[in-house]
């Protein structure tokens, strides 16, 4: 559904993403893992057009492959690439329903420009929003103002906003961040559920979740894709082990200096 060729992003002297070739198939769930600063969030920002790459291409499959490298975030969203955020990033004083409704409305062509019509005349977006809220388990919270939801519920809402407008590709950035272990089970359930009819690229630190839900696992280390395989194979891969545990004793590793992920904007580590 989406693929990159030689995707590279440099910030000054830092190469955050370094020549990544990656492809995500239809209805596939691929996890993207890697130590802090490996370039995961930057990679997301490149896919959604939030950042422009220094080199390389991003393509998206509609009927045929379309080059979306130069598209802005709203253009990629309209094509069907949606994302969630690592830190809850919704519309805080709007209700849960309005959060999803306004996101659904974005995909209604010129409807958002109909200044003279009351929102209530566009029931289809509200229906869609209600369905999505039901699907993510927030059906009882439609009228709750987003900022007053519990943290776990907010993480569900975060996914719900990304689901609005019927995307084909979902990029989920640490959906379980800061969620307690019992609430994680529900999120895992949700991720599995949405992966049935979406192509999902999941950034996740919780390895139990990753091993549990992924069809495939890709590992970024210092901006480079060092592994891309099924979960078990990735777990056994010595390069991956070293990336996580450090290559300090093992000399030869890491000729690539300075893969610092400046694009993350502070991870809640």
């Amino acid at each position: 559904m989406i693929r990159t060729t030689g995707l590279t992003k440099r910030f000054g002297g830092l190469t955050a993403v370094d020549g990544v070739d990656f492809e995500l198939g239809q209805n596939e769930l691929c996890s993207l893992i890697g130590p802090n600063g490996a370039g995961k969030t930057t990679f997301f920002n490149l896919l959604t057009g939030t950042l422009a790459p220094t080199a390389g291409r991003v393509e998206y499959r509609e009927n045929d492959w379309v080059d979306v490298t130069d598209d802005g975030p709203h253009e990629t969203a309209l094509r069907g690439i949606h994302r969630s955020y690592q830190i809850t990033n919704v519309f805080p004083t709007a209700t849960a329903l309005e959060n999803v409704r306004v996101a659904a409305q974005a995909h209604g062509g010129n409807d958002a420009w109909k200044l003279w019509r009351n929102v209530s005349a566009f029931g289809e977006y509200e229906r869609e929003a209600r369905e999505i809220l039901d699907r993510v388990g927030l059906g009882d919270e439609t009228d709750t103002v987003a900022s007053t939801l519990s943290h776990g519920q907010k993480r569900h809402l975060e996914v719900a906003v990304a689901l609005a407008g019927d995307p084909d590709v979902l990029l989920l950035d640490e959906p379980t961040a800061g969620v307690s272990s019992d609430a994680i089970d529900q999120l895992v359930e949700l991720i599995r559920n949405v992966a049935e009819d979406h192509s999902v690229l999941l950034v996740e630190h919780n390895m139990d979740v990753v091993m549990d839900v992924s069809d495939r696992v890709a590992v970024l280390h210092r901006g480079e894709l060092i592994a891309d395989d099924d979960p078990v194979a990735v777990r056994e891969n010595p390069d991956v082990q070293r990336a996580y545990l450090g290559g300090y004793e093992a000399d030869g590793d890491g000729s690539n200096a300075g893969g610092n992920d400046t694009g993350t904007g502070g991870e809640p580590a």
Binding site: H74, A77, R83, N89, V90, D111, N118, V119
Partner: protein
């Protein structure tokens, strides 16, 4: 919390229609009440003025003439809130749009605008004023919306000041552009109403407008101020309803989404730049209309009460007191400010003059340490509205940041217009049950 369901036995169709009408009425009950209150105000003012406490009422209630200003400056404040309160972008140069609308009217009337003759119908002129403001807003916005926060405020202020300085020195305006331009009492009043049908139009203006004796045959006389009040009030009401309509449209929801979280609004698929620009243009339109109404009523414009930074500040003050992001709030906010100004005014209806008249000579000359009561009135009361408004303003920023209407909404848990009737209804039912 949900709408009460109708339980009438009438046939389904009539039931639905009846329910719809009742719902519309209920939804707009507060709107209607406010409109009626405003409509009755001149009559109430006259009636109260004739009571034994007449002179007290005249001190504390704004005169109808002042209420006309509440309407057009209130409209300006609402247009300011439309962009600043709903998208979060502080338009610090908003006076630019008001000023261009006002100058357009006066310059047209004095035959100084190409293509528009002095006899252009006022209703058309209002529209042109709005469109000129739209053009300016698109030009200013196209550049300014690349910035945000304080920088957006500053660049819009910069644009407005360029225009301010220009208009203050542009001798095309008049022989002394610093004093502005005036149409004078000569010539026809500007007519508000249905263009082309004289019977459905009235002239506005305090000195030149229409007046009616013995309206409805009940002995109530409408002077120029009252006639202008209703005519301008009608235009302001239409403008308010249009803005309210837009706020409640899908477009309005996008504006709010931008205010709440611009990054996310973009990520869900909105080209936020175009939405901000359009909202700015709409806001500019109504500011331009407000300026045109002002010029039509006062028939004179000056840089200081149109393009000035402190004129934008009037809107800011009104929005803070009334409530940012409430649309109607700024009108009430300005009503409050204008009332304070009226009470503390140096003019005959102000409280200073009243106190001097009412208090006895001995009270006035009483005092301690060489300071008499009369001195205190002169120094701390007479024309000191800015001092107290400044203090009120600071207190609002510190303790009532959501303003009057915003705080009311928070208390009621929704829009006043939606919630108030419901509250009343539920209380009423509660008592019956």
């Amino acid at each position: 919390m949900s709408e009460p369901t109708e339980t009438s036995d009438a046939p389904a169709v009539t039931d639905r229609r009846g329910a719809y009408v009742r719902r519309v009425l209920a939804d707009h009950a507060v709107h209607a009440a406010v409109v009626v209150a405003f409509a009755l105000y001149p009559i109430v003012y006259t009636v109260l003025g004739q009571t034994p406490l007449g002179s007290e009422f005249e001190v504390f209630l704004p005169r109808v003439h002042a209420m006309v200003a509440v309407l057009y400056i209130g409209l300006f404040a609402m247009s300011f809130d439309f962009i600043s309160g709903y998208t979060g972008y502080l338009s610090f140069g908003h006076a630019l749009f008001y000023g261009s609308g006002a100058y357009l009217v006066v310059l047209t009337a004095t035959d100084k605008v190409p293509l528009l003759g002095p006899d252009t119908p006022f209703m058309l002129l209002i529209l042109v004023a709005g469109l000129v403001a739209v053009a300016l807003a698109l030009a200013v916005g196209a550049v300014s919306f690349r910035l945000s926060g304080v920088y957006f405020a500053m660049i819009t202020l910069g644009f407005a000041e360029v225009a301010h300085v220009f208009i203050r020195n542009w001798d095309h305006v008049g022989s002394n552009p610093r004093d502005g331009a005036s149409i004078g009492a000569a010539g026809d009043a500007f007519a508000v109403g249905v263009p082309g049908i004289d019977a459905l139009q009235v002239g506005i203006g305090r000195l030149v407008g229409d007046e009616f004796g013995d309206v409805f045959g009940i002995g109530v006389e409408f002077g120029t101020a009252e006639v202008s009040y209703y005519a301008i009030g009608a235009v302001v009401l239409v403008c308010y309803l249009l803005m309210q309509r837009i706020i409640h449209s899908p477009f309005g929801r996008v504006m709010i989404a931008i205010r709440e979280n611009e990054e996310r609004a973009r990520a869900v698929g909105y080209d936020v730049f175009r939405f901000k620009l359009a909202a700015f243009a709409i806001s500019g339109f109504f500011a331009g209309v407000a300026g045109a109404l002002f010029a039509g009523y006062r028939r004179t414009v000056a840089p200081g009460n149109t393009f000035d930074l402190f004129f934008t500040a009037e809107a800011l003050l009104a929005a803070i007191v009334g409530g940012f992001g409430t649309l109607a709030g700024p009108l009430f906010g300005y009503l409050f400010n204008a009332s304070v100004e009226g009470v503390l005014s140096t003019e005959p209806h102000g409280i200073a003059r009243y106190l001097r008249d009412v208090l006895s000579e001995s009270t006035l000359s009483a005092g301690a340490g060489g300071v008499t009561v009369a001195d205190v009135i002169n120094v701390l009361v007479d024309g000191r509205a800015d001092l107290y408004l400044g203090i009120v303003f600071i207190l609002f920023v510190l303790y009532v940041p959501r303003g009057i209407l915003g705080t009311l909404r928070d208390r009621l848990g929704g829009h006043v217009a939606d919630r108030l009737p419901e509250r009343v209804r539920s209380r009423f039912r509660g008592r019956n049950e």
